[in-house]
Symmetry: none
Subunit: 199 residues, 4 copies
């Protein structure tokens, strides 16, 4: 009788290994054998948990999404003031450490893969719905309290979330003019832009 957690643990190990490998060499170059090696299993075992490479990647994308969400939620909820919440939210996207960097790699790969895969598009739809709703909620709250300029909060949220995507992408690409520090400043300036005079 195997411990009931063995399967779940193994699955998680493989997904974590997948994220690491994808971050390092990209989905295109990633081989199932790489994931196997990294997770200390055989290719047979990887296929025991995920029938195809495609299924493995899909699961890894979803797993990354849930992990991101779990990391983000407490960060945002730590603040009460919508201005702080917005800043904390944007801050949590800065690729400051290995985990966030790896996570960003997964998002970028997801974008490219989703362009030609209906299931992944659906995942993207969920993911962005989630972010948009969160940010729009913060902005609406801030507008109610008079901190943020008027204007459709959904449009503002979309602009901010998309900007963060574009910025992180350039940072990940190692752009000499878009460093982590630059990204931070652009984000700060963007918040300034939507703050009302007094606040």
């Amino acid at each position: 009788m195997a411990r009931p957690s063995v399967e779940a643990e193994r699955r998680e190990q493989i997904l974590a290994a997948t994220r690491e490998v994808v971050a390092e060499m990209g989905f295109r170059a990633m081989r199932v054998a790489d994931v196997a090696k990294r997770s200390g299993a055989s290719t047979g075992t990887v296929h025991y948990y995920f029938e195809t490479k495609r299924e493995l990647m899909q699961a890894a994308f979803e797993w990354n999404f849930h992990a991101s969400q779990a990391r983000r939620t407490p960060v945002v909820e730590a603040h009460e003031d919508p201005r702080d919440r917005l800043r904390a939210f944007l801050d949590s996207y800065l690729p400051v450490d290995e985990v966030v960097v790896q996570s960003w790699h997964m998002w970028i790969e997801l974008w490219t893969a989703a362009l030609h895969d209906t299931d992944l598009r659906e995942l993207n739809e969920n993911v962005y719905g989630e972010w948009r709703r969160t940010v729009a909620g913060i902005i609406r709250d801030g507008q109610d309290r008079g901190y943020f300029v008027t204007g459709d909060p959904v449009l503002l949220a979309n602009g901010l979330v998309s900007m963060v995507d574009g910025l992180a992408l350039q940072v990940l690409l190692g752009s000499r003019s878009m460093t982590l520090e630059q990204m931070r400043r652009v984000c700060e300036q963007s918040v300034e832009l939507i703050l009302t005079e007094g606040s």
Copy 2:
């Protein structure tokens, strides 16, 4: 005897075919044989012009960049007022027709490929330097004339360009909440945000 332009023409055909194929199925799934078929040539011929697949993609990315630039420049220069220039610039990024859509596909594929390819990162660096300089120039000009709010024009330019990238990405992904029309409105709102009171 052969017209000297034959080679150049053939090369262009292959690059155009590459863009079409990449837009349709993605770089990952694209085979040299697909490009050959699409351009009406043999795989041998494709390799006659581009030694490796990697070289073909690199050339296609560069070709796409120059084509984008050529399309963009007259659009921007058609206006004198920096506010109109900025609006025209952003407008030219909306994925309204097949050419712009295919072009966006190439950019997105470039991002992913460049994450693990130094040469392509260099290309990205050039491309973004170009856009940033253009937009920053427009903003600086607008600030000088009092149309735009104060603030580091480079930061503002980076924010705008990144936002456009992120927005186009979601439109390309067929997001139900980020349609072409939505993207247009977000862009318009963003311009409003940096306009000064009077203008």
Copy 3:
């Protein structure tokens, strides 16, 4: 404590499952996992009873043989007149129900497998010796009583048994011109051919 029949029962279950699976998807496509699932056991259990897949198939072929024999014997012995015996014997080969159909599937798979497996050839030798002896006996008896035409009873028996094999094969293959009904008529006509004028 365990009933001594438990093992025998389990074994039988697995063999029955094997016949079902082979009939449905063929030996080539059959996986040990399919047999396990069908018999409600694990792959480990299947291997507990049959060391290798080859051994499992061999046992299943033999089991099918004995089951066929057990079904056939009372049918033939129910008649005293050799003409009736022959008709009853041929009748019992018509693929009229699921059991006979599955049994035929096993024979056909055995033929193909035996072409390259000495042990299975030996099994085939036994099986056909059995049929041939039975039919030759019936014919010899009928000739003695003046019901059947003269001629080497062994040759006649071989002709009949082989014909039945060939006919059943075409019926199993769903041939539009060799239906169950057609097969029945061919068998009847063949019996007529060896009957003497008066009988």
Copy 4:
């Protein structure tokens, strides 16, 4: 410019190699690599001509059918008397040489494969329609001339063709009681059975 016959030649080589390999080790055990080696090509080349192993086998079955037909037709047409035609036809099925033996191996493999493959069943349908029509024609002709006993010629044809299948199978299986010589005698006796008294 390659010779136009190169492709056809190469294809034929691969199909011939397939028949040899299938006859030797069976479809189940046959690997694409075996066919490649036998035909002096690489596995890549085999796949260049036949996308999948299944397609290769299908083509090999069809090729074998056409080759059999081509071998058989002149043999039958060499005789005018329906009794000779029938004898010549049955004779041509005796596994007397390597080619006929290999051909029989292909038929047997076809049967088993066709049980679970619609396309192959269709091929079997064509093949048997062909044989049945030929034999029924010969019998009908013989009956018109008073050489053969009365009775449905289609039933008689089916009985004969099926018998030959069953007999050849046992010969191929190396049955000690069904040798080539035995098969020949059973066939002769069967012809005797349908001859009228005087002829």
